[in-house]
Amino acid sequence: MKIQKVILVVFLAVMFLPLTSVGGFAQVTLGDYTLGGEVDLGGRFFIDAPSHASRGYFEEYIPYPTGILLDQLYMQLKNKDGSEYYKFFMSRPGERDEDFLLQAGKIGLYKLEIEYDQLQHLYSTVNPTVDQIMILEQRLRFSGTYTPTPDIDIYADYQLLKRNGEFPSTTIVQGPPNAYAYTSNLQPTAFTQNDLGLGAEYVQKMYQFHLGYYLSLFDDEFKEFLANPASATGWQSLAPSNMAQYINAAGAVNLPSCANTRLTANFSYGWLSQNDPVFQSNGSTLYPLNFPPAIANTPMGTSNLSASTFAGDLLGVSRPTDQLTVRYSYRAYDFQNDNLNNPVLLNAFFGSSGVNVPLLQMEQYSYLRQAVSFGADYRINPYAAVDLGYTYDSVDRDFNEGSTSTNTPKVQFRVYPCDWLNLIASYAYSNRNGSNFLEMPSPISASSVLTYKSYSGDDVRNLVNFVAELLPLNNVTFSTNFTLYTDSFDNSGYGLLSDNGWSAGADVSWTPCKGIAISLGYDHEQSNTKELADNVDSAVLGDSGPVLLTADSYDTFTARADIVLVPEKLSLTTSGNFSWSTSDFHNPLIPNLNESIFHVDTWLKYNYSKCVAFKVGYIFEQFNMTNSYQTLYLQGISDTGVPVGNQTLNTLQGFYNNYTAHVIEALMQYKF
């Protein structure tokens, strides 16, 4: 791959470099068409490169290889008036984040796009035996829109998404009542997803109508994997292949003679299905023959599960006067589970006394979510406006799995006292109530199906927002914002009791003269949660555990400067951000979790001629986190709290090392 890249870059350099002495644009005319574009190529090297083991987070999504670099190439072929065009764009070919885009179209008639791009998700580079633990995502996308007349649109979209690689995972090898110990493994991943969308739209000034169909096929090459080779039952199932289809109809009508009203409706119906093989923990793909008598003679081998969704929306907006806007909506989302009589499920939930119906219903219920909202925005005078809103939403679950309802009134004021000051303040009160949730029995036991309380508790939320924008001078913009929220979970015996937080920020932009623009910003966010932990050791619900307090704080500083050093010749662009966070667990055994990332991107651009420019960039990035991750993830803990040894692989994605990187990029930009 690297050889291909070198050949490509050399070819482009040989092709374009002789043209650098050309004073003007080197556009090429091909009959009635004109070829133009731009290419950025050069090289990249590190002044200070992170070690391989430290590059995990630095290159989490995009790689930073050194050497010859083709940053981007853009070519455009268009006819004389520009109404027909063919465009090609590519960036970083040969790299894992390469992107190729081809567009063709005739303005007002059709547009076609084909795009291929890649993305890596690098999970770890610290493992001594596996160089890089990562998943490569490849995406191929086609889309086309045809507009035979201004009032008809026909479109088709297709996307092929592939994910291949390995994911770090763990499996428990020793657990309660003994010490916990885990073994780590690599979970194989080979996903293929095919998505197809088709639709048409008919548009008139007074109404619009849309009809669409969407099909998504997900296929997983690996259905199971041996997570713990030391155990005969160490197999884990992986994501099953599945299919989803949706049909969608939407329409809107304008009623100017009826208080300038616009009504919109949307309806979707979806089918979800899955028919993958069912596995046992011993890795066998054959379904056991010893079915319980109650469900004997049932089909074996595949799950044959399905579900469906209905979604309906009615929305309206009326503007009876220039000052008043009224909006109203109703939304329903119905998830229908169709699997309660599925023989595989009946078997899976079969216990010593037959099918455990409560547990089956707990996982395979249907629910209906509805929301009604009203709002009115009234412009009192040119200097002030008020917006009042109210939303009621509810979730109803089958089989007494609980219902919740939430009332949310809110008010917003917008004040424009003068032409250099805008003030926006809003307040929302939200009250969530639950009912019909299953009660936790007392005393609770390990054999109880009610392993969870189903509901995190009634919640009263207050939310305040304030934004002020100041434009004291023509060349200065200043804004500040403040947010405060409080969540109080009433009647919550344990779990989350409260969640409070606030954030504040300010930013300023200044253009002191033509050619210089500077902006600075800072914001701080703080959240504090209080949770009462519980367990069943005492067989009694209550305060048998410690109160868990967590305080998270986040600070972000951003800066940007665009400076023209020599008009039309030399310019400097620099941007940077510094973000740091602290999670304080208020626990002597758990260190604070501190993270920070500092990124600076600076580019100096010299325009040699109209078609040639040289750019030199300096990229600095520094990432630091306390060793909490390593402490918390890597160590198996004995029953006395003593680390039992490092695990070579990691759970989740928290195994990145700190790094500092200084990168230099030099590019030649040629416009043709």
């Binding site: 989490e60 995009i62 984040d97 303005i107 993305l119 000034k205 007074m206 109404y207 619009q208 849309h210 998504s216 997900f218 259905k223 199932s237 599945n242 109809a249 329409g251 100017p256 003679s257 616009r262 009504l263 409706a265 949307n266 979800l272 299905s273 899955q274 993958d276 046992q280 923990s281 056991p288 579900a307 979604a311 309906g312 929305l315 220039d322 909006r327 109703y330 998830f335 229908q336 499920l345 917006d387 392993t451 309380k453 995190s456 914002n481 344990y494 932990a533 367990n535 619900l541 555990g545 967590t550 951000n577 973000s579 667990f585 758990i590 918390l632 198996g636 709290g641 759970t651 928290g654």
Partner: protein, 324 residues
Amino acid sequence: MRRILIFGLTLVFLTLVFLFSNSKAPATDVKAPATEAKEVAKEYAGVEACEACHHMIKTGVLDRFPKTTMGILFLNHPRDAAEKLGCETCHGPAKEHAASGGQTFAGMIRYTKGSQTPVPLRNDACLKCHEKRERLFWQGSAHDVKDVGCTECHVVHTEPGILSRHQLKRVTVSDTCNVCHKKQVSEELRFSHHPLREGKMECTSCHNPHGTTSPKLVRGLSNKELCFTCHAQYRGPRIFQHPPVMEDCFNCHQPHGSAYPSLLKAPPIRLCRECHVTFHELSLQPLVGGKRQAPRPNEALSGCLNCHRQIHGSNSINGNLFFR
């Protein structure tokens, strides 16, 4: 029953739309073709009149405009009477403006800073042609209600650059959204994040800023349908299902960025305990006065998921606790 309700409501409305579309009810702004042509002659100045002054007054606008998408369409390939109006398609009738030598803007729609044209009126000019596809639900949407003008994010008089695929005012979508949504953009700088700051995703990958039926301008029928667009491995259905996954991914995940792995809202040990009574001791330290002293260290961040690996659901016959 509830399906019938939803279906019925929607069907009624769509029927209403259909009937309305076939009705001959007069609408205030619908004109007969002949009348329309007469109106044009009376009120509109024509492209030539605009060119006569504006190539001198505002250098560059009339050089750039013919190269833009709308310039090419309106000036060279108009498909209907409205597009033939050129500049006045968007700026409204300007005959009076031209006759006054630019002294008055009566009846015109202006988009410049300090314009007296109300934002909804400015947006109406765009929606005349663009109220379809992604803009179908613009009216009443969060941005419409807050008087966000189309031209606050988009430019018309500039030829799209290499990266700008939607005539955006700024280079990227994130830059465009960052003007107002600084909190969400700064959340992307947290440890666990989607690849937005690396430029491999955009805000519009998940949100439709022009209006949706879902809350928070989220694309898709609901949050979970949005997530399943890329993460279809969690879509199911499965034999053993974790109810929060069935209802809303955001029960556990914070999509804009998190200090905790996998975009979790909180460390798993704390997150799981919001709903679960644990059968495992919080600490393997001995009880002191009947109270646990502290969580085990390695439970703090990834704890429960160390064992309950298939927490999104399991397709194993032995996967009832999401171990397998």
